[in-house]
Amino acid sequence: MQTLSFNPLYPFETLEIPFDDWVEVAFDWIAGARPVFQAIRRPIDWVLEGITDLLLFLPPGLMIALLALVAWQIVGGRLALGTALSLFFVGLIGAYEQSMVTLALVLTAVFFCAVIGVPLGILAARSDRFETGLRPVLDTMQTTPAFVYLVPIVVLFGIGNVPGVIVTIIFAVAPLIRLTNLGIRQVPKDVIEAANAFGASGRQLLFKVQLPLATKTIMAGVNQSLMLALSMVVIASMISVGGLGQMVLRGIGRLDMGLAVIGGIGIVVLAIVLDRMTQALASSERERGGRRFVERGPIGLVRGLSAGRTASAAAAATQRRG
């Protein structure tokens, strides 16, 4: 057997760390804790199933009308019209059901992003040490190519929609944590000092001052998470996640341009509608003319009508009495 002598100019011909083997070993060890990962699956499963059932339960015509009403309530009449027309078009090209599945996946992912991300962001804002420790983790989560952790996720969680949501959460949660942290840290020092001077407890400071003043930034984080989640749809479909991503993936696999484009259009439509809605949520009531949430849109209309009816009924009653 020929043994090479160590040459400092070409050190790597003789020196090598079996890092890949180590990772395998470590991973096998982690995989031993499978029950833990199965437990993690469960809440995600519940939420995902709930949302999917809800979206697919209603007949498409009613569902599109409902989504348009939601858009009207949150943003305004123009987006309502746009939502209705574009979803109708998506339905016409045969991607309605897939759109709803994708919408459910994305909403589930964003829900868990918020549940995980906002508290972590708050913690990061309160402790510099925690923030310093968290930052490289977030960097890793955002920059690691999704394909790298796709495999371990499959090993730990299996394939299907739930692991797909988990992959999406990993990819999409970082900006929400960052922006929550930033939003709270950006609350002016003098306002914090004033709140303290008037005897605010830690909890009061958080809920009455810091979070309200950080809402805009946090909502921008939710918006970013949502967009990232949508961008993960196609990659997640590689671990057999259904919906629009599956259409795109299958289209690419079969060189079926039509199918891929239909899936693509569906994703874009969802992205635009969701983006407008979350952006509108981020702006405060005052920036939109000072009318309160319940006084605008369809809710406002219904309230106005019922108030009008009560008023006219009252007027009629007075007339009768007179």
């Binding site: 004033a194 709140a195 008037f198 005897g199 407890s201 003043l213 405060s284």
Partner: protein
């Protein structure tokens, strides 16, 4: 007046190792040396003074002199390193979290230079903020917030948002927020410094008016001497973390403790700082205007004190006019009432009028000029002598007490108590 706040040997040292630095400060090392040796900054050094109940106590100094640090130790936004602060005899440096919150909610409130209002809630909710923290019900705190807004004249803006108001109005909201819980102590950290000069003096008047309505103990931080002189009952001057002098504006003006204090006052134009009320004397002959009071009694009174003019005062110290010996004699001859003897066209000045506005009036008036406030109440008189004396009393020349005393006996006037009682008999 009782002592409301007693500060004893108070220190604040910022930096990595305040205890070490404290030992050095106590050994008498100065600020720069301590910073060089330990990297700690001495914020406040061995401060001891008392603030009396119901006074406006101004803490003055240049930026970096420790005055903002000082005021924040009163509600422990900054924790003192050593020493004690007693409020009504209770040492607040020993309070626990809950006790401290209670203190901040009920006893001490604060007004900030930057207003520090919450931008996302309405003015009325901002004012109610402290009450909300204290757990008061929605209706009750709203009611009290509206009452506080009423006090500062902003009730009409209750439903506005802070950024819809001007700077002066925003600070009124800040003031109302501090008043809402009706605390006995107010801390005002350069509260009016961010406002333009006109609004600033308006706010100072507002504060004085509020103080007249209900006496609170106010600790007011300022770097502006004019402001300190205007509103302060007493002033503490800080230099490099040390309280160098505490006293009334007059005392400090007349007898500055060191060159630093003196330099504060050097640029001061006395005629703009002092007002008619500051130099008004009540040593003139005043005559109470009563129906049975005739010109005869008034004449005798003027004769007794060898005065040419007397000042007639009605019910509730309302200023009625000036009478002279000749006008009284005329009235006696005509057998007329005291009112007939009033000298026509008497010029009066407002108590808040600065001295430089008085000169013309005082110079042309044949008699001392009565000081009458906007309610019509008599507040004393300004004579030529007292005006000249005040103007001459520039700080640069008033180094010693002896000098001041040498200047003061110029007016040989009947001393207090004023001869009002005599006139009534």
């Amino acid at each position: 007046m009782n002592d409301k706040i007693v500060v004893e040997n108070l220190y604040k040292i910022f930096g990595p190792d305040p205890r070490d630095a404290l030992a050095l400060v106590r050994r008498g090392l100065d600020k720069d040396e301590i910073f060089a040796r330990t990297g700690n900054t001495v914020g406040v050094c061995d401060a001891s003074f008392t603030v009396r109940e119901g006074e406006i106590f101004v803490i003055m100094g240049l930026s970096g002199s420790g005055k903002s640090t000082m005021v924040r130790m009163f509600n422990r936004l900054i924790e003192p390193t050593a020493g004690s602060i007693s409020i009504d005899g209770r040492d607040i440096t020993k309070l626990d979290e809950a006790g401290l919150r209670d203190l901040r909610r009920k006893t001490i409130s604060m007004v900030f230079q930057s207003f520090a209002l919450l931008p996302h809630i309405k003015v009325v909710d901002n004012v109610a903020f402290g009450l909300e923290l204290a757990g008061m019900s929605r209706e009750e705190r709203r009611e009290r917030a509206l009452a506080a807004l009423e006090q500062v004249g902003l009730a009409a803006n209750a439903e506005s948002y802070p950024d819809e108001l001007s700077g002066g109005m925003q600070q009124r909201v800040g003031l109302a927020r501090a008043l809402a819980a009706d605390p006995p102590i107010l801390l005002m950290d350069e509260a009016f410094s961010a406002l333009d000069p006109l609004i600033r003096s308006e706010m100072q008047d507002e504060l004085i008016r509020l103080q007249d309505e209900k006496k609170r103990t106010i600790i007011f931080i300022s770097h502006d001497l004019d402001e300190a002189m205007r509103i302060g009952d007493r002033i503490a001057i800080m230099q490099g973390g040390i309280v160098v002098q505490v006293g009334t504006p007059d005392e400090i003006l007349k007898n500055p403790a060191n060159e630093y204090v003196r330099s504060f006052f050097r640029g001061v134009d006395i005629s703009k700082v002092l007002t008619a009320a500051d130099i008004a004397t009540k040593t003139q002959v005043t005559i109470i205007d009563k129906p049975e009071q005739g010109p005869r009694a008034a004449l005798r009174l003027l004769g007794d004190f060898d005065r040419e003019y007397g000042f007639v005062i009605g019910r509730g110290r309302r200023f009625a006019g000036v009478v002279s010996v000749s006008s009284l004699e005329q009235a006696r001859r005509d057998n007329a009432s005291l009112d007939a003897a009033l000298v026509p066209e008497v010029a009066t000045v407002l108590p808040e009028a600065p001295l430089h506005e008085l000169m013309g009036v005082v110079a042309t008036s044949p008699h001392p000029v009565p000081v009458v406030d906007d309610q019509g109440r008599y507040r004393g008189v300004v004579s030529r002598t007292s005006l000249l004396q005040a103007l001459d009393n520039l700080p640069a020349e008033t180094g010693t007490d002896a000098e001041t005393q040498a200047q003061s006996p110029a007016e040989a006037v009947p001393q207090q108590p004023s001869p009002v009682a005599a006139a009534g008999e």
